[in-house]
């Protein structure tokens, strides 16, 4: 037990020390993006892996967080922490909005609602371009920091906090009940659990971290834009990261995000083709190892 904790601590320290061991600012920037996408993917995994809800629109929640915070900063000029809080709040409200149909609809129908939610948000942003900057994006006056290392610590801190909270929740009694609700809602009710309550809580939690990360991402990138935070493609990346890394593990999705972002950067010299390669590797992985990277590591170990 003690040894294991030490290993966890060492890996985290190694990450935290990354800026000090001669790694360039650019790689720090890549690691920062990995942290943000890691949080997105983890939050999605809580909904899918535990609550059993396939949310095709993680970028709805991310986008609400991002634009909530961005608008608060650009149009209202509120202080940055307050903006992040408002963005997160917007995402949580969005999560509640999604939870209502989720409790009524199954499978593809709920999936579609989440997709439509993204499209409507996107349309709203374009229609109210005067306020939101439309498809060009919304530039915000404030940023977290100009220093790559500081930004990285913000992102790493977010990843550690979100990871700790989500893992704790997933492994808690709440997580067990949530899994029961996701796998067999009737059985969970027959055992005396108000399934609705747990699912709503899961949506709120997932939306909270998606929105928080989305809001912080705005102040990292210095801009809120449809194609970086709302587009369906962003949601697809998040889902693929989670499935690729190993769904239902919370940690796995972070690995998936690291792969997607890392591989994308390494293959960048290939230009457009890099996207095909990354998608092909991801497709191959889910076909051959459906449990993702984490499943692969676990499987090899036990074999």
């Amino acid at each position: 037990m003690k040894n294991q904790r030490i290993i966890v601590a060492i890996v985290l320290l190694a990450l935290a020390a990354a800026p000090w061991i001669g790694i360039s600012d650019y790689i720090i920037g890549v690691l920062t993006m990995i942290c943000f996408y890691g949080v997105f993917a983890m939050s999605w995994d809580l909904l899918f892996g535990y609550a059993g809800e396939v949310n095709f629109g993680p970028s709805f929640l991310i986008g609400l967080g991002a634009y909530g915070a961005g608008l608060a900063d650009a149009d209202l000029g509120l202080p940055l922490p307050l903006c992040v809080a408002l963005g997160t709040l917007a995402a949580v409200l969005g999560g509640l909005l999604l939870a209502i149909p989720a409790l009524r609809l199954r499978g593809p129908y709920f999936g579609l609602i989440t997709l439509v939610a993204v499209l409507l948000l996107q349309d709203a942003i374009v229609i109210f371009a005067g306020t939101t900057g439309g498809e060009i994006g919304l530039s915000v006056p404030d940023i977290l920091s100009v220093n790559a290392t500081v930004n990285f610590y913000y992102a790493l801190g977010l990843l550690v906090i979100a990871g700790t909270v989500l893992l704790t929740v997933a492994n808690s009694s709440f997580g067990l009940i949530l899994q029961a609700a996701g796998q067999d809602a009737i059985e969970a009710q027959a055992l005396g659990f108000n399934v609705v309550k747990y699912k709503i809580a899961a949506f709120v939690l997932s939306a909270f971290f998606s929105g928080l990360a989305g809001a912080m991402l705005v102040f990292y990138l210095g801009t809120a834009s449809v194609d970086a935070m709302v587009d369906i493609a962003v949601g697809i990346q998040v889902i693929i990261a989670a499935v690729l890394g190993g769904r239902r593990t919370i940690i796995g999705p972070v690995l998936g995000a690291a792969f997607l972002i890392g591989a994308g950067e390494i293959l960048r010299p290939l230009g457009q083709v890099s996207g095909v390669v990354v998608a092909a590797v991801a497709l191959g992985t889910i076909l051959i190892f459906p449990n993702g990277f984490l499943g692969l590591l676990r499987g090899r170990h036990s074999a």
């Binding site: 037990m1 294991q4 290993i7 966890v8 890996v11 985290l12 190694a14 990450l15 990354a18 790694i23 360039s24 600012d25 650019y26 790689i27 920037g29 890549v30 690691l31 993006m33 349309d123 374009v126 229609i127 371009a129 005067g130 900057g133 439309g134 498809e135 060009i136 994006g137 530039s139 940023i143 100009v146 790559a148 893992l167 492994n171 990138l221 210095g222 801009t223 834009s225 449809v226 194609d227 970086a228 593990t249 940690i251 796995g252 972070v254 690995l255 690291a258 792969f259 890392g262 950067e265 390494i266 960048r268 230009g271 457009q272 996207g275 990277f293 984490l294 590591l297 676990r298 170990h301």
Partner: protein
């Protein structure tokens, strides 16, 4: 269960660390021993025609400059990053160019969204950034608002407001004077760059002699343009004035298919490319768009050699962004040469003093007093742009008069004002 989940966490973190290490190793820069070239970063969406044109023109520009001995004895080199039309990708590649490739300046992007996302990074990293195709007014407005921070940004292309002025000049000289047109309907894609454009149109078209009957804006992902053309046609305008960049092929093709009897002029950015004829199956016959330069038209002595060279190298005529990119790199090289430095502030100082002849015209950047600080100076004697019209598969220049190599001609289904036919 506790055991397994703990172990899972640890293995996951191990894997994460390994991925990180691999990423780090793979990304360590490999430096050659040759005399250090001056690196210039290019950011463009290479799968779009204007994006590819940016990279192509940049290659020609540094080849030309290096052939003349480079800058202060150093050759120029390019780091070309495909931003894949994504602000996120653009930001990370911008960081990579600055922090890893140690470029002295970044040039490119025809997409306002990308340009605006990069602007804060240019400010934070003190990295000269020359935008060579995007048109948002905000690009230079931000420089004006916070000069100290944003002075590293140069808008080496026109803000929408200037684009509107160009169209109005065309409207005055050709549409109103030559063709006796009196009324127009403005049809623009709903994008932030067209807001100031439409405002510009509304302000200057009446002065040019065209009454604006209506402004129609449509969503950039509109597929069926029939309702829009119908609405316009019902008002019996003499001309439709366009404001299109993200769309182009579809409205043009549908305009031709539906034989909309009203001619089409204005900004139709995609129509500036020679590939547009094939993309529209010839539907673009008779379409007029403003552009900075046109093939076969000598804005300056540099224009035709550049166009020919480009055509020879890439088998396609340069898109509008090619001209602005070529000129921007020329200006950048001149600035570095003049200041004997590649330091950001020196480059900014040099660029602010830019006064060169480029492919588009005389290139200078507006000063702090202008609300469009660091934007390309527009107007007679500087860069005015040209109007091209597609005629039988080629782009002809119909304006300004001193550069024109053809008279306006329209397909049979287009109805012109009566006086014009009498002409």
């Amino acid at each position: 269960m506790k055991q397994t989940s703990k172990r899972r966490v640890i293995r996951a973190l191990g894997a994460l660390a390994a991925t990180t290490a691999l990423t780090a190793i793979a990304m360590q820069p490999v430096r050659a021993d040759t005399p250090a070239p001056i690196e210039i970063g290019i950011t463009a969406s290479l799968s779009t025609i204007p994006g590819a044109a940016i990279a192509n023109a940049a290659k020609l520009a540094i080849a030309d400059i290096n052939a003349k001995g480079g800058v202060n004895g150093h050759p120029l080199a390019l780091v070309i990053e495909d931003n894949q039309t994504s602000a996120t990708n653009a930001v990370s590649s911008f960081q990579r160019m600055v922090n890893q490739d140690h470029v002295v300046a970044v040039v490119g992007t025809w997409i306002s969204e990308v340009a605006l996302a990069l602007e804060p990074w240019s400010a934070r990293l003190h990295m000269p950034f020359l935008v060579t195709g995007a048109a948002s007014n905000d690009i230079s407005a931000f420089v004006h608002k916070d000069y100290a921070a944003h002075k590293y940004v140069f808008h080496a292309y026109f803000p929408s407001a200037f684009l509107a002025e160009g169209v109005c000049d065309l409207a005055h000289d050709v549409l109103a004077d030559q063709l006796h047109m009196k009324s127009a309907v403005v049809i623009s894609e709903d994008a932030a760059w067209t807001k100031p454009l439409d405002a510009g149109y509304a302000g200057c078209l009446p002065g040019a002699g065209l009454k604006v009957l209506k402004e129609i804006r449509f969503s950039p992902d509109t597929a069926d343009f029939t309702p829009i053309f119908q609405q316009a046609e019902a008002l019996n305008p003499d001309i439709i004035i366009s404001g299109w960049a993200h769309v182009g092929v579809q409205p043009t093709v549908q305009w031709a298919d539906q034989k909309v009897p009203v001619p089409l002029a204005g900004i139709n950015a995609q129509a500036g490319s020679s590939a547009f004829w094939k993309a529209t199956n010839g539907g673009t016959e008779g379409v007029i768009t403003t552009s900075t330069s046109a093939p076969g038209v000598a804005n300056t002595p540099l224009t035709i050699p550049f166009t020919d060279e480009y055509q020879k190298a890439y088998g396609i005529s340069p898109a509008y962004s090619a001209y602005s990119t070529y000129d921007a790199i020329l200006a950048l090289a001149t600035a570095m040469q003049a200041e004997h430095s590649t330091k950001p502030d020196a480059i900014v100082a040099g660029l602010e003093k830019t006064d060169i002849t480029g492919t588009q015209g005389r290139i200078t950047f507006l000063g702090q007093s202008s609300p469009y600080t660091h934007a390309l100076r527009f107007g007679p004697g500087y860069v005015t742009g040209v109007a091209i019209q597609w005629q039988s598969g080629t782009q002809k220049c119909i304006w300004p008069a001193n550069l024109a190599n053809a008279k306006p001609e329209f397909p049979g289904f287009v109805k012109l004002p009566k006086l014009a036919s009498a002409n």
